[in-house]
């Protein structure tokens, strides 16, 4: 029994000792693992940090490269832009193609006719001036190249509000005379313009100064005076070396945001080649009303009246006059309908009256192409009455400079 008790005691005493060693060993292993894990976590963290740093570096590098590319692109664009805008003027080509059906047809009528091609060049010449050149290639009695306009516009002068125009250009006389063929709302120039200023209006070598008159009402009021060669049809002869003097006073009123009114008066005088200082005096009034009460339904009404005094022998002056009035109505954003009434005497024969009634439609295919059909009934006092149908197509290529408000 004694031995049995001793054995129990030894077992009870020794076992906890063995357990404690085992636990201590396990504890030590656990601590080692903890250290290893901590080292591994640190390593992972370090790798992640390295990765992030690398990604940031890459991003920074990409951004720098992108910035460099953008900078290069911009400088390239700027260089090319400055190259083009400095050295190359804006070049535009405008074509006017017609088929004119005329019962009393002359040459070029009842046939396809590329009536005119205009080459237009425009650019700023320097800080103060702009240059414009328009060369017209016309198909009348064969192909003819003519310098339609070539002028310098002095945009800044030492006198405030004053600008100047020098070269060959359409003088400021009325409103329609300043329009090129493709700018007209009809297929031809009104009779009064044809008879008193020239078949396609009046373009001449000369100088014009225009002054914006300051006024408390802030109305656009512009006075233009000019001097031009007389070598054109305006005064009935081109032998004279005299100067034709012109004056034009334009006033524009905004009645409302949608409605505007323009009133202009014009005057010109010069020797007419009848000798003894005989002169011609031509004066005119132009009135334009524009209104767009509904969107894309603009209405334009335009009237010009011209009075002419043509001195011949003393006491034998010829007084004649002419006028036209036109109404244009926008039907949709691309369709226009128009009508025009013409009356004109001729500058050298006041007893000959001609009346014409025109109506037509214009379809703007885009800003750069339009199609037009116009019918004109002309009542002549000295020749047969005439019925004419115009079919017209105009197009423009290139950055044609904007047109003035009409």
């Amino acid at each position: 029994m004694k031995n049995f008790l001793i054995c129990i005691f030894v077992i009870l005493f020794m076992c906890p000792q063995a357990k404690a060693d085992e636990l201590s060993e396990l504890k030590s292993m656990f601590q080692q693992m903890q250290v290893q894990m901590s080292e591994m976590a640190g390593r992972i963290e370090q790798l992640e940090r390295e990765k992030q740093t690398q990604a940031a570096k890459d991003k920074q590098e990409i951004n720098q490269l992108q910035a460099q590319v953008e900078k290069l692109e911009q400088s390239e664009t700027k260089e090319s832009k400055s190259f083009f805008s400095t050295l190359n003027p804006q070049v535009s080509v405008l074509g006017d193609f017609i088929y004119k059906i005329d019962e009393n047809g002359g040459e070029g009528d009842n046939d396809f006719n590329m009536r005119e091609v205009e080459l237009a060049f425009s650019a700023n010449v320097d800080t103060w001036a702009r240059g414009d050149v328009v060369v017209a290639i016309e198909n009348e009695d064969g192909t003819e190249v003519a310098l339609e306009e070539a002028y310098l516009t002095l945009l800044e002068t030492p006198i405030e509000n004053l600008q100047g125009k020098f070269g060959k250009f359409r003088p400021f006389f009325g409103k329609v005379n300043q329009m090129h063929l493709h700018q007209l709302p009809w297929s031809d120039y009104p009779l009064a313009v044809q008879n008193f200023l020239g078949e396609e209006g009046w373009s001449e070598h000369g100088v014009a100064l225009n002054y914006l008159i300051p006024n408390p009402a802030d109305i656009y009021s512009e006075l233009t005076i000019g001097g031009f060669n007389s070598g054109s049809t305006v005064l009935g002869g081109d032998e004279e070396n005299e100067t034709v003097y012109t004056a034009h006073w334009k006033n524009f009123f905004d009645i409302t945001d949608e409605t505007s009114f323009e009133l202009g008066t014009s005057f010109l005088t010069g020797e007419n080649g009848n000798g003894d200082g005989a002169r011609t005096y031509l004066s005119g009034v132009d009135v334009t009303l524009n209104t767009e009460l509904l969107k894309d339904r603009r209405t334009t009404s335009h009237t010009e009246v011209l009075f002419n005094t043509h001195e011949q022998a003393p006491g034998d002056d010829i007084h004649s006059w002419g006028m036209f009035t036109s109404l244009e109505q926008q039907l949709t954003n691309r369709w226009w309908a128009f009508g025009r009434y013409d009356f004109s005497q001729t500058p050298t024969a006041s007893e000959v009256d001609t009346r014409a009634y025109s109506t037509g439609l214009t379809f703007a295919q885009s800003e750069y192409v339009f199609w037009r059909a116009m019918f004109t009934r002309t009542d002549n006092e000295t020749s047969d009455d005439d019925n004419t149908v115009w079919l017209q197509m105009d197009f423009s290529i290139g950055p044609h400079k904007p047109h003035a408000y009409r």
């Binding site: 945009l155 800044e156 509000n161 914006l212 691309r334 885009s366 800003e367 904007p402 003035a404 408000y405």
Partner: protein, 300 residues
């Protein structure tokens, strides 16, 4: 008597010191609104265009030249938006200070990153803008860039008011940031939705608010919708489950309604410029209205 003379002298001395009011002419009402936010009572602003007009087709009315004549600063949207009339107005104004390149002329697009920059320039592609899409004002964050350019230029022209302009700029930017959160929150549920628009007007807007424009009612910019093109759009709407057709209210919504009737989409006619609809008297109200209209279009 001595007192009167002294007072007159003092007044005379004081008057030149008083900051003058700058006359600013902008081409659009959106720019006008930003100038007014930055300049407040130190500026008098006139916009050539109205919010319900198509800014591509303004006319160079002589009365605009008179306005430009008196301007200390002329601001354009740029990117060729004003190509049809700006040069006539600037030249006709006889105001050298506002000619292009001078201190009195500011192109608001200068610091904007343009989108839709064409690779190829050809009129067969319609009315494309060589420098990129000019409708950048419909991204409110672009207007922060514009506001900065305006504040800088106003400060150059009127240095005595620099601190006021800078403060107003900070206020403007803060308001944009606050409103952006509001606008984004309202449009967030519809982010990723596909849109059809009339013209390429909404590129910047959709980019900012997460929409995808998959086509326009115009076959090409500036070219009116044709029946065959509209039928293609109808199919596009059906195939892509497009819910709204976003029609700029400066254009008729006939084409949009034609497509909507055949596809089940909803037409949303929204203004694109300040003053283009009732209650859009400033830029923030304009964006409020656009966001409200677009979000409304998605709601059943």
């Amino acid at each position: 008597m001595k007192k009167i003379i002294l007072t007159t002298l003092l007044l005379g001395l004081a008057l030149p010191a008083q900051a003058r009011i700058l006359n600013v002419v902008t081409t659009t009402t959106d720019l006008k609104s930003v100038v007014e936010s930055i300049g407040k009572d130190k500026v008098k602003v006139f916009s050539l265009g109205d919010g319900d007009q198509n800014y591509h087709f303004l006319s160079a009315k002589p009365s605009y030249m008179v306005k430009a004549k008196k301007a200390d600063l002329f601001i354009r949207v740029g990117l060729d938006l004003e190509i049809g009339y700006e040069s006539l107005i600037l030249d006709g104004s006889r105001n050298p200070a506002i000619r292009v390149g001078r201190q009195g002329h500011l192109d608001a697009s200068e610091k904007i990153k343009p989108l839709d920059v064409p690779d190829k320039v050809d009129r067969s592609l319609g009315d494309i803008h060589v420098g990129g899409n000019p409708h950048y004002w419909l991204d409110p964050l672009n207007m922060k860039i514009v506001a900065l350019s305006i504040a800088s230029r106003l400060s150059e022209l009127s240095p005595e008011n620099r601190s006021a302009f800078e403060k107003n700029l900070a206020d403007f930017n803060m308001k944009i940031d606050l409103k952006m959160n509001e606008w984004k929150k309202k449009l967030e549920p519809y982010a990723g939705e596909k849109l059809i628009t009339y013209h390429k007007t909404w590129t910047y807007f959709s980019g900012r608010f997460g929409f995808e424009i998959i086509g326009e009612l115009e076959p090409k910019p500036g070219v009116p919708p044709s029946p065959s093109h509209l039928m293609n759009v109808v199919n596009m709407v059906k195939e892509n489950n497009v819910k709204i057709i976003l029609n700029e209210n400066i254009y008729t919504d006939d084409a949009a309604r034609y497509v909507a009737e055949r596809s089940g989409a909803v037409v949303v006619s929204a203004p694109i410029s300040v003053g283009g609809a009732k209650g859009t008297d400033d830029y923030f109200l304009l964006m409020d209205k656009i966001v409200q209209d677009v979000a409304g279009g998605f709601q059943p």
